[in-house]
Amino acid sequence: MSNSLILNSITKEGVDILATQQGEPAWSKELRTRAWESYLKKPFPSENDPAWKKTRLSLLDFSRLSAKSFTPLSEKQTDSGLTDNLIDHVAKMGGLVFSYQSQENSFCQVELSAEAKAKGVKLVAIPQASKEAPEILKQFEKNAPEAEDDKFILMSRALFNCGGVLSVPDNVEIDDPFVFITNLASDCVDGALFPRVIVKVGKNSRIRVVNHFTSSGSNVSSQIVFSNALTEIQAESGAYVSYVEVQNYADNVFSLNRQFNNLQKDARIYSLNVGLGGKQIRADIYTHLSHSGSSASVMGVALASSDQSIHYNTVQDHQAPHTTSNIDFRIALRNHSVSCYHGNIRIAKEAQQTDAYQSSKNLLLGEDARAEAVPNLEILANDVKCSHGATVGPVDKEQIFYLNSRGLDKTTAEELVITGFFNTVLATNPIAGVDAFIQELVASKVQSSNK
């Protein structure tokens, strides 16, 4: 294994070194530099900004953190110390991009199934993307919605160092999921990780994607490390993408996830985001329904405990007529964890006959847990169906009594109710195997946080 231990701090030099180490062509370096310059011009979000108030930015100390470059490995590196390995739950994969960073080294690997290869699918790890998938990278940079590029997204465009690019041609159907795993080992003390996943799905194609963020090892460093992930999904006309994201980082990780779903005519996305790990979870999911007939189901499940803080922000942006979106987010909080959910629905003047729904349910399990749900609707069209609902409250005592009356003790009864609370959303997950994997993770977190 070649040594990849040269540190790149989060600076202009860091950006240059990263591009040089990965042997990127001039245009790629230039795109990074341009993003870096825009990054410098943007102010950091203020903690008083309502859109950022549950995101404890003060936990981050960029002078301490550094981004590494990832060495592509060709031989299979199976031992990455993962105890809950997603791969063991997926019978067959369409492909895999595995990125690993520990205090000692950082590497990535790519595999593609014979079926996917034969059908013309391209899967490239980020360190090689500027050489092997230049057109896609350029296109995604060009299409980036500048309005939504905040300080952290620009940081990620300048420093993305792991993850992968998946490109699926027109009229391809593959059942086996494409899996991205980002493993930020828990012994890391100064890591800053910039995973980027680009998924481009051609016309009328149907694929499944799993994006898993995790940490191996049980010795969790007390230093806060940073993961700033960017996921961009583009579904072309008539395409259907199922996307499942599972964030199960160690509890020293500040996890920032930005997801963009761009849907063309009659394209559909099913997206499920599961948030379990990390000290701070911040996720923004933008769904752009910019062409008629496009539709999106965006589901979310998060369970926080101890002093975790989670902040989800969803945007359902209807720009064209006959578009449909359905958002269902469920958050359960133990101990003194806190959460905030911002649900934004925008319906443009042209977007007649659209149907937008948003539901946010929050379960308070700890006496000091606090949840907030803030809907924000901006409807300019006059012939639409749009509704939203939010609930915040403790576990229903009658449900607990019912289970008690059947012999289940308080702890077991409560665990069953919490699991049930999530199950109604998790049951919609279409990716076989991943379903059981998530249920296990959730159950184990429900049980461990109950002690």
């Binding site: 009658e398 019912y402 009356s405 059947r406 012999g407 003790d409 308080k410 699991t419 049930g420 199950n423």
Partner: protein
């Protein structure tokens, strides 16, 4: 009673007083149930019948201010509901709550495990379930549905009886299990109840109802009339027939109600 095994005391309620939100509801209930016995508790709406069932099960909202509950020789007055259930007390709810996301099969497995104190092998559990479901005419898809979520009235009651049959409690309290059932469902549910208590069985039943009709299928050994938080009259099954024909007004100690609308509609 033609009990082959000598009757054993299952439940003894002594001078039970219960308050809800500071309001006195039960005012000195005395009741003894032995194995193999079916007791029917009848009375008007608001007489405190359901309060008795909740207090027996240990609902935290119901405060026992006086008296005690002895179950299988143990004082359970201070016990938590789950401890009572594991000892063998069970309540079939009048309005069982829905628990979305928790499937009937997962729930039953957890309940059976809690009651028996050990995990039952999947195969054995399935076989047991299949038998009970067959008897109650419950389709397989019931198992994957969420507890009472979107269930019809009849389905809810079937699920309550299904649980009793799986858990085999020593005392089953049935709170208006007959209300809202059509005639076929009433028969099936009654048959389920009858399977719980046979002359040989170690179990007893307390059946709370407004109406005679379930008593055509489940024969009570004792009928108690409940009024204003206590039992004011006890008799045999003939008592329920008289109530059906003549109403409650003739019962000594019953407060007279000239226009009793509450009794006409089951709440």
């Amino acid at each position: 009673m033609a009990a082959k095994t000598p009757a054993k005391e299952i439940l003894r309620v002594e001078n039970l007083h219960v308050e809800v939100d500071g309001k006195s509801i039960l005012k000195g209930v005395n009741l003894t149930i032995n194995s193999g016995e079916v007791h029917a508790l009848m009375g008007r709406n608001g007489s405190g019948k359901s309060t008795l069932s909740y207090a027996l099960m240990g609902h935290p909202k119901y405060t026992i201010t006086q008296g005690k509950i002895i179950f299988l020789g143990q004082d359970i007055t201070e016990m938590s509901p789950d401890e009572r259930a594991r000892l063998g007390l069970s309540l079939a709810f009048q309005y069982p709550v829905a628990i979305p996301g928790v499937s009937v099969s997962n729930f039953l497995r957890a309940a059976v495990k809690a009651k028996r104190g050990k995990d039952v092998p999947v195969k054995e559990f399935r076989a047991e379930l299949k038998k009970v479901m067959g008897e109650l005419g419950v389709p397989n898809e019931f198992l994957s549905r969420y507890i009472n979520d979107g269930f019809s009235g009849g389905e809810k009651k079937r699920l309550e009886i299904m649980q009793l049959e799986m858990l085999k409690p020593s005392l089953a309290v049935l709170d208006e299990t007959d209300s809202g059932l059509d005639i076929d469902a009433l028969k099936t549910v009654s048959e389920g109840v009858n399977r719980l208590v046979t002359p040989e069985s170690e179990s007893g039943i307390l059946l709370i109802t407004h109406y005679q009709r379930i008593l055509n299928y489940v024969k009570p050994h004792f009928v108690h009339i409940f009024e204003d938080g206590k039992i004011i009259k006890t008799g045999g099954s003939e008592l329920s027939k008289k109530l059906e024909e003549e109403g409650y007004d003739w019962v000594p100690g019953m407060s007279s109600r000239n226009l009793d609308l509450s009794q006409a509609t089951s709440t």
